[in-house]
């Protein structure tokens, strides 16, 4: 009975949403009101100064030097959101470790690890680490960036964790990385406030669009985010792979 009522409720709601979005002359496609959209300025990088167009490997010293426009928005135009996002993940990892404070014993899986698994895991872990690092160092050139890159690092740590029994002792160093990466991110923002005028301002030269060493603070910020996310994700996984000590 309850189920039918809720289905009805949801269907009515859906009908209402549908009519108000698509029937009543509401315009859901951004392409048509591009004039008012702020994204064109992001694409041509002409927020502070008028800029005709950006050409790959040719345009230099623009207000923002990232070839990947999403990265440009995430780490430069709206960098403050990203700081908040990092904070949310930070809070989540603290929260998980606080909620599961009594869970301290590591899981004992039934399966014993053997030599083949260990060697294979090491091989894959190496490749995954390289992939993760590649992803966040090339965040301003290719898709990816700090968040998936950091998560891949976290995933490779998980693999180490599952294949090596004595890995847990080394987890403490991640706390240092997490803390330092976060602090340096905020510090970069404050340096921007003092060296240039605004918080989180890009105070380094932006270089040529498309070059590996370009885009000012964007790669630095993404590397920091990658390290921070990697250590936070490892922390969360570490906390989840425990069980409560019987008291």
């Amino acid at each position: 009975m309850k189920r039918i009522v809720s289905i009805l409720l949801v269907v009515v709601l859906g009908y209402f949403v549908y009519t108000s979005l698509y029937v009543d002359g509401f315009d859901m496609a951004v392409s048509d009101n591009r004039q008012t959209s702020i994204s064109d300025a992001y694409i041509t990088k002409s927020v502070t100064s008028e800029n005709e167009s950006v050409t790959y490997m040719e345009s230099t010293d623009l207000e923002n030097g990232s070839a990947n426009i999403v990265t440009a928005i995430v780490t430069d135009y709206r960098s403050f959101d990203t700081l908040g996002e990092v904070t949310v993940l930070f809070l989540a990892s603290i929260g998980v470790s606080m909620v599961l404070a009594g869970f301290t014993k590591k899981y004992q899986f039934k399966m014993k690890t053997n030599r083949i698994l260990k060697t294979g895991a090491r091989l894959v872990v190496g490749l995954a680490l390289v992939l993760g690092v590649y992803m966040f160092t090339h965040g301003h050139l290719s898709p990816g960036g700090g968040f998936p890159g950091g998560s891949i690092i976290g995933a490779s740590i998980l693999m180490m964790y599952l294949s090596e029994e004595n890995f847990r002792a080394r987890m403490a160093s991640f706390k240092w990385m997490e803390s330092l990466a976060g602090t340096v991110y905020v510090l970069i923002g404050i340096i921007g406030l003092f060296v240039a005028t605004y918080f989180l301002e890009n105070f380094l030269p932006t270089g040529t669009v498309g070059a590996l060493v370009s885009a000012g603070i964007i790669p630095i910020v993404y590397i920091l985010i990658g390290l921070k996310v990697g250590s936070e994700v490892s922390g969360i996984i570490d906390q989840f792979l425990t069980e409560e000590v019987a008291s």
């Binding site: 999403v70 899981y107 992803m135 898709p143 998560s151 996984i237």
Partner: protein
């Protein structure tokens, strides 16, 4: 790289339908573990959707975080539960 217009429409339609089916399955399946797997599969189809909508950054992030990490966390949660259940059963068996 030009994708044929009709092919594109067919692909979006297929992805959309699969997303909805998997969404319903994820909520309505009886076992929790299969719910989690359906959710993971749904997340993978969402990745396809993001690729079709020309959002490679989002697609990579969703693939790694949405269908990778979140699924792992769900499964770790459920593993802990089954282990606890087994212990309880053993205890119950001992008292008998």
């Amino acid at each position: 790289m030009v994708i044929n217009e009709t092919l594109y429409t067919i692909m979006t339609a297929a992805v959309s339908i699969m997303l909805i089916i998997l969404g319903i399955l994820a909520l309505e399946s009886k076992k929790l573990i299969s719910s989690v797997i359906y959710l993971s599969a749904m997340s993978l189809f969402a990745v396809l959707g993001f690729v079709l909508m020309k959002a490679p950054d989002v697609a990579i992030t969703e693939a790694v975080i949405g269908s990778g990490l979140v699924t792992a966390l769900f499964i770790f949660t459920l593993i802990g539960v089954t282990k606890l259940d087994k212990k309880d059963n053993q205890k119950a068996g001992d008292t008998k």
